[in-house]
């Protein structure tokens, strides 16, 4: 597999040169935090970041996306006929995605792409995407990727991986998609032995910097109904205000709601992110709500991530250990603590 080394300045130029081949999404500084944005003339990538406030899940799975359209104009030949909205699946690349976020797409994948159901929008967008990761030299104290099957230099779900060696980026292709990306990427040199050694040492030392250890080993063997009825849920849920921060910032939360919106005679069927924290999420047409109480909703979020997913897919937990919910929960509900409670 190809390996190249770029000075950081050269890398920026190379990325700009790739814009005709890919829509490129990069971390951009936006006030107090970073977010992924499409690289254009206004947005400069900033790879000197911990992780972005929002995960890059919206690059594959937008918060709001028009899937179908229809016209209510009775005079139109296709009146009231719902048609797929046209989509552009031009190749795109997420450059600088952290390994936890790339791993998250692998965690999410069985939901959108399995033998029974294939979500054409998610799959096509996913397949048109090249994931160019950036290893984490300095993971945060809230990171726990190593407890959930990842690591600061994990290659899971990545097509290429960048090593930040100070003044240079060493980039390593990991898949055919990654090879193609590096072939199209202008410039760069073959890395010498010193650089290769430095990159290996960097990766080895980064894992040790993650001090968190969250136990997930017993989750699979727990009895679902017993966990469901566990005595700790009231205590876990007390502080929760049932906002959507955790679910919307989470790279592995995938739930959505379908809405029809009509303006004059033009109608759109839109898919929007939804959140199990919201009462409306489970409200039935009858008016009955099976999760009417806060504690039921909080329990659902953790049971889904740490038990139902584990049982259904046999693919570990539905969490990549990015720590966003820990850092940003308005009331400090800490998934590490809840996981320990569930696993104990």
């Amino acid at each position: 597999m190809t390996k190249k080394i770029y000075t950081k300045k050269e890398w920026m130029k190379t990325l700009a040169g790739l814009k005709s081949s890919y829509n490129i999404f990069v971390p951009v500084s936006d006030g107090d935090f970073h977010i992924f944005k499409a690289m254009d003339d206004k947005e400069n990538p900033d790879f000197n970041f911990k992780n972005t406030r929002l995960s890059p899940k919206s690059v594959i799975y937008p918060q709001s996306e028009r899937l179908f359209e229809f016209t209510l104009d009775e005079n139109a030949p296709d009146a009231n006929i719902i048609k797929q909205a046209e989509k552009d699946y031009f190749p795109q690349a997420i450059v600088g995605i952290r390994p936890c976020d790339a791993h998250a797409f692998q965690i999410v994948r069985p939901n959108f792409d399995n033998p029974e159901y294939q979500d054409p929008w998610w799959i096509q967008r996913y397949e048109s995407t090249t994931f160019v990761g950036l290893g984490c030299n300095n993971p945060d104290s809230t990171c726990f990727c190593t407890s959930v099957g990842g690591g600061p230099f994990s290659e899971k779900g990545l097509d290429a991986l960048l090593y930040d060696l100070g003044d240079t980026f060493l980039v390593k292709a990991l898949t055919d998609k990654g090879e193609k990306f590096l072939k199209l990427a202008q410039g760069g040199k073959k890395p010498d032995k010193t650089a290769l050694k430095a990159s290996e040492e960097l990766a080895a030392s980064a894992s040790d910097k993650i001090k968190n250890k969250v136990s997930t080993d017993k989750l699979k063997h727990k009895v679902q109904t017993e966990l469901f009825e566990a005595p700790f849920w009231d205590e876990v849920a007390f502080a929760c205000i049932n906002c959507g921060t955790c679910t919307y910032l989470c790279p592995t939360c995938w739930c959505f709601d379908m809405q029809d919106e009509v303006f004059k005679k033009q109608g759109d069927r839109i898919r929007n992110w939804d959140s199990c924290m919201f009462p409306l999420f489970t409200l039935h047409g009858s008016g009955h709500n099976p999760r009417a109480r806060k504690v039921q909703r909080v329990r659902q979020r953790f049971m889904h991530k740490l038990k139902y997913y584990v049982d259904k897919y046999d693919n570990g937990v539905q969490c990549s250990g990015c720590g966003r919910c820990i850092k940003n929960c308005p009331v400090n509900i800490d998934i590490r603590k809840v996981c320990e409670l569930m696993n104990s």
Partner: protein, 316 residues
């Protein structure tokens, strides 16, 4: 305000021992720096969990709504004003509450602290009486608390609780001569296009998580208008028109009720200055009706009183 911690614990223990409360609501120390967690304890032996420092910037009144038991609760100035509002709006009864008053010296603006250390990760914060020390992997810095107070605390004129059953320390001196509405006047001075642009810009990062609404003790409607589905009042996508509708309507629902506790701004994951929506309404309430929310149990809320002799023509 660490000196309050022991006092709060002692008070809670006494309340449980005297059988005065069934539960006690306060804060416990959070799992990350500059973050505490609302906690409910059921017995005196859990009192050791209770904590209080300059990072208790949510609003505990949120957790009182329609409870039926007897509750002990800590309340600083703004939280106590929300408790008053809750009582006058029939969300809780006064005789259910044992309010432990906290003379508040203001909360720390965690975002400003993050900025001051250039967004490096903060691993520990030590609070002293006038200063606090922030520690990270390769840095340690000490700041004056007064330079890092939250913007709502800087203009607060009700630091002491307005209602309490006991107060855990001598009242603190209230701030005087603060200019609470400088920013609002600036916006008032804009033409309508610039005003619209201003508010459009501040919400352009909104992800519709509703944390601002959910952290607000005023937002206790059984079903919020954004969650209504029959009829549906507002679109669910991130279309800017729908997002703006949410923010403006939310703010108007708080008119004459907001105590500027700042919880909405504290919780926003995107750092939106949400108070810009409610502050103008607070200013209007004060200027047109000499009204500040939640100061007395004897006053009906601003927008549910009618006086035949009202000086305004439109109401007669």
């Amino acid at each position: 305000m660490l000196e309050y911690v022991e006092k709060i614990r002692e008070t809670a223990i006494k309340l449980f021992k005297d059988g005065k409360v069934d539960v006690f609501i306060g804060y416990q120390k959070g799992s990350i720096p500059m973050m505490n967690q609302p906690v409910l304890i059921n017995s005196a032996d859990q009192a050791g969990l209770l904590y209080w420092d300059r990072n208790c910037g949510l609003n505990l009144c949120n957790y009182l709504t329609r409870r039926t038991d007897r509750i002990g609760i800590v309340a600083n100035g703004c939280n106590s004003r929300n408790i008053v509002t809750h009582i006058t709006e029939n969300q809780i009864r006064r005789d259910q509450l044992y309010i432990v008053g906290i003379p508040c010296k203001g909360m720390i603006d965690h975002r400003a602290v993050q900025r001051a250390v250039k967004q490096q990760e903060i691993l520990a914060v030590e609070e002293h009486s006038e200063t606090f020390t922030v520690k990270g992997k390769d840095f340690e810095e000490t700041f004056n608390i007064k330079d890092y107070l939250r913007s709502n605390c800087l203009v607060c004129t009700h630091r002491n609780p307005v209602i309490f059953d006991e107060i855990i320390a001598q009242p603190v001196e209230e701030q005087s001569g603060v200019d609470a509405y400088k920013d609002v006047r600036q916006i008032e001075g804009m033409d309508s296009e610039n005003k619209w642009n201003f508010f459009t810009r501040i919400i352009d990062k909104c992800i519709r998580c509703y944390a601002c609404r959910d952290a607000c003790p005023l937002c206790y409607c059984p079903t919020c208008f954004v969650d209504e589905s029959k009829p549906q009042w507002v679109g669910k996508s991130i279309d800017p028109v729908d997002t703006m509708t949410f923010h403006i309507l939310r703010a108007y629902h708080c008119a004459g009720r907001c105590t500027d506790c700042g919880a909405c701004e504290r919780v926003c994951p995107m750092g939106i200055p949400v108070r810009q929506f409610t502050k103008k309404l607070n200013k209007d309430a004060q200027e047109f009706f000499s009204w500040e929310a939640g100061l007395s149990l004897d006053q009906r809320p601003l927008l549910d009183v009618f006086r035949p002799d009202d000086y305004n023509d439109f109401i007669r």
